[in-house]
Symmetry: C2
Subunit: 359 residues, 2 copies
């Protein structure tokens, strides 16, 4: 158990955006939202998973939609708690704890807003160990947890609740509402017991985010290599160093979809890396050959500063370094790959797991 | 107060489809649904509006979506009650009565399904005196009644609930969910008190539907003119008699939109009538001049049989007669015209009210 204050947030948001693997929202927007909530309501208590009771009622929150839109359509602030309250109304019970469903610059900060405003502790965990674009892509889905009852809320005071027999239908119906709400909405979903959090989620994600963010900042301050520092904490491989060339990006169907082409620099001169994304980076292809693929993480960092670069902020001329990071082993099972492997996203290549890095 | 049995339904559904002014769903599908419910649960009690208490809790139901789709994607049957139950869960109270929100071949039958399955009486009224394509187009909207809390349910067991500050947003969000559910869904919305039903709705619609349907049938059985019989009960003008030529129709955005061109026969030979529709017939233009327009009713009947022809069943070669019928006077106020007049639908012509017919 420890207290998280506004001072912890910059490192946390930075590290979360690295784990967000291109998606999960903008860390600047996320940090501002959480700082505002902590300034009003005070620090948030962060609990380890083994500090919660098995019968805790854990209600997560997040933002859903196209990150391209979220950069400009800023949250009002109260929609996160409105979404959580809508679920509580359906259940007739109040949340005892909250937790992050995905790591991301915005979506690791949203739970701090919910925790601060509701006055409940936040659990140090997340549902993926990364970010994924569709809401059924959560490790608890593999354990049979339902996304619904689910609620969406927007900045106009609109609220939508869903009950769906399966999580893919929750994604379809929630995505349609999100698009109508202007391509972004606060959501609350995957009501969990404390036991389910312990069994089915990734423990320690918040602390890992803070360690990654701090390593990048300290390396930069010490004139060391921030990308190497991040890679060491992540257990990641440096896959490519280059300069962003063409970026094709469209906001369609409630997602930011597209691809970017990187021209190699230094040791990668003469090579090209193609990144394909749907909110998150999905596949990295070097000179026609897949080198990293979902469910492994593809993290793009600014080569000079080590700052994470989300898919919506990728732009021509940026010097970036690409890290490949092994995913949580549960994503590598047949069930995990069916839910979020390359085949689900329409790719024909087989998934080749990145090897673990000796630390 | 009277009992409605399966024997009443054919006339009722036929007359409702006439008032549906091209929309409101197919009377055959509607009648089958209601017959099934009455066969299982017995007759439904129909109450006059002055027979209900002011504090009655009235929860209407209907089907929403594109009628073109509803002809083929048949309801499972339980989604109507599921939608009503979802509202009751939100309110924490049970409906004491139900009522029809619009007249239409399907949507005047849906309330019989809800009444029979929930075991509650049905009020002899509706919310428009006709059918309109968008859900905010209800006379109670003019009286400040909110569409939400609102629920949608589909045949797969999915349920969506909405809370929205205004009725236009309820339409937007509900339409998006309806499209995702496959372009049709059962809905429950516009929770009313008994007092609001008396003050804001159109009394006697169910009985009027039955009278229209019976007049058509009896004229046909007696070898009289069924179109003239319908016109007499409706207080309507015979606007055109002709043969359907080109029909342009597309299912888009959760609606059936399009137009049909009628070539005149008999006294109308040499003239052409153009019908524009969005689920319902919106405007009838004769040789370039608007002759009937929303909010007045444009009812298309088969010239030989008097059977109502919905916009989704308009087809080449059909001989039809077009009636223009004055709408409820509340639609002719500035507020009524803003909600459902020609300007709302993007037409530039001014609304010229059809004169009342001396009966």
């Amino acid at each position: 158990m420890r207290e998280i204050t506004a001072e912890n947030l910059p490192d946390l948001a930075r590290g979360a955006a690295v784990l967000g693997t291109g998606g999960g929202g903008d860390p600047f927007v996320g940090r501002l939202l959480a700082q505002q909530a902590l300034a009003v309501h005070g620090p948030v208590t962060l609990l380890d998973v083994d500090e919660i009771e098995d019968d805790a009622l854990v209600i997560p929150t997040a933002f859903m939609g196209a990150p391209t839109v979220m950069l400009e359509k800023l949250p009002a602030g109260d929609e996160v708690l409105n979404a959580m309250r809508a679920i509580e109304d359906l259940l007739g019970r109040k949340a005892t704890h909250t937790v992050s469903i995905e790591a991301g610059g915005l979506n690791s900060m949203t739970p701090f807003v919910a925790a601060a405003e509701a006055g409940i502790p936040l659990i140090d965990a997340d549902g993926m160990g990364r970010a994924f674009p569709e809401l059924q892509m959560l490790l608890p889905t593999l354990g049979g947890v339902k996304a619904s009852p689910m609620a969406l809320a927007d900045e106009r005071g609109n609220a939508v609740s869903l009950r769906t027999p399966d999580n893919a239908w929750a994604e379809r119906l929630a995505r349609a509402s999100t698009v109508e709400m202007g391509c972004s909405a606060a959501v609350s979903l995957y009501v969990l017991t404390g036991r389910q959090v312990k069994d089915l989620m990734v423990p320690g994600t918040m602390t890992l985010c803070e360690r990654i963010g701090r390593a990048i900042r300290e390396a930069r301050e010490g004139h060391a290599d921030p990308v190497a520092a991040a890679a060491e904490v992540l257990g990641g491989h440096l896959v490519f160093t280059g300069k962003v060339g063409d970026v094709l990006r469209s906001t369609s169907g409630g997602f930011a979809r597209g691809s970017a082409r990187l021209a190699g620099l230094a040791g990668d001169a003469g090579s090209a890396l193609e990144l394909s994304f749907q909110n998150e980076n999905l596949v990295a292809t070097r000179d026609g050959e897949v080198v990293v693929s979902v469910p492994d993480l593809i993290c793009v960092l600014d080569t000079d500063t080590g700052e994470p670069v989300t898919t919506e902020t990728l732009r021509y001329g940026l010097r970036v370094s690409v890290l490949g990071v092994p995913c949580d082993p549960r994503w590598r099972t047949p069930e995990g790959l069916a839910l979020a492997g390359p085949g689900y996203f329409g790719y024909e290549h087989a998934y080749v797991p990145l090897p673990a890095v000796e630390v």
